[in-house]
């Protein structure tokens, strides 16, 4: 959800947090974790 709202939809952190109904800090943490996973997936795919 955070990836979709911030990176695909282009919402600001505060806007995305309000859509989901969570604090900005929580959104930031989730976004960072999601990006880590995406980066790992992409790096793994690139090595195939």
């Amino acid at each position: 959800m955070t990836v979709n709202l911030v990176l695909v939809e282009g919402l600001r952190y505060q806007e995305a947090a309000d859509v989901i109904g969570i604090p900005v800090g929580t959104l930031t943490s989730r976004l960072a974790r999601a990006r880590d996973v995406l980066q790992i997936l992409l790096d793994t795919e690139a090595q195939r």
Binding site: M1, T2, V3, N4, L5, V6, L7, V8, E9, G10, L11, R12, Y13, Q14, E15, D18, V19, I20, G21, T28, S29, L31, A32, A34, R35, D36, V37, L38, Q39, L41, L42, D43, E45, A46
Partner: protein, 277 residues
């Protein structure tokens, strides 16, 4: 040496930091290549996601997203900002939209049910990953060896397109070419279309390695279709790109004839170009 958390660098890449912290990170980037590399990775990932979804971004807000948000509102008896409302307001006036979003009441009382939201997030996440891989062969930016290299039409344009080649329908425009301090050729490019982005790539070996990649904010006057206007080098570059160029360039940018010569020699590092037979 300054140290910044990954979340801080992510927020910098997303232009979410306060001016003081942003200036500190920008200064650290100039002094520490590792920080610059980490920020570039965040920017590249963000730009790549927007590129992968450039067609979808033009579509109406998915009903499932709106339905999920509304369903959660009913279950938790909380007032949650509607995505469509925020998106519409944000497109009309970003500053007002952010302010309006802050005025919405927070959920109060009771633990909200995250089942539907979690399921939705999982499906969207899988969708994002699937989107990457479905577009992998033609992606303009491809993960490689811990960094990013140009692929598809971007790679072809970097190798074959001159700055003067600016047909209106071209997916890539070349803004500036120059020789870096290490002797490599570097080029500033802009990707046109719904998810416009611009960046800096330098030729290393047989690949164009992406040094900077940043989406252009479609809400800003300078955003949108970069191909709509011819923007002269220097005056049109974002502060990020301008700084990246200034920290690397040796001498003057290549003129048209120099670009042709560099292309003929395969953009090999200056002094190492193989003679053509």
């Amino acid at each position: 040496m300054n140290t910044f958390s990954d979340e801080t660098l992510m927020a910098f890449a997303d232009d979410e930091l306060d001016p003081t912290t942003r200036a500190a990170v920008a200064a650290a980037m100039r002094d520490d290549p590792e920080i610059e590399r980490r920020v570039t990775r965040h920017r590249a990932l963000r730009a790549r996601i927007r590129l992968a979804y450039s067609a979808d971004i033009q579509q109406p807000v998915p009903e499932r997203v709106v339905a999920a948000a509304r369903g959660r509102t009913l279950k938790s008896k909380a007032t949650v900002t509607d995505l469509a409302t925020v998106r519409a307001a944000s497109a009309a006036n970003p500053g007002v939209a952010a302010h309006a979003a802050n005025d919405v009441a927070r959920p109060s009382g009771g633990a909200p049910s995250w089942r539907s939201a979690a399921a939705l997030a999982a499906s969207l996440f899988i969708g994002v990953a699937a989107g990457f891989f479905a577009l992998r062969r033609t992606d303009p930016v491809v993960a490689n060896d811990g960094g990013w290299v140009a692929g598809g039409e971007l790679a072809a344009a970097l190798s074959g397109q001159l700055g003067a080649d600016r047909s209106s329908g071209a997916p890539v425009h070349m803004t500036l070419s120059f020789v870096s301090k290490s002797g490599d050729y570097c080029r500033v490019f802009s990707l046109t279309g719904a998810a416009a982005a611009s960046g800096l790539a330098c030729r290393l070996g047989d690949a164009w390695r992406i040094r900077v990649l940043a989406e252009e904010d479609p809400r800003s006057p300078a955003g949108g279709d970069a191909g709509a206007n011819y923007r002269t080098a220097g005056s049109s570059l974002s502060p990020l790109l301008l700084g990246a160029v200034q920290s690397r360039i040796v001498g003057e940018p290549l003129d048209h004839d120099a670009e042709i010569k560099a292309r003929e020699l395969g953009w090999r590092p200056v002094g190492q170009a193989l003679p053509r037979h």
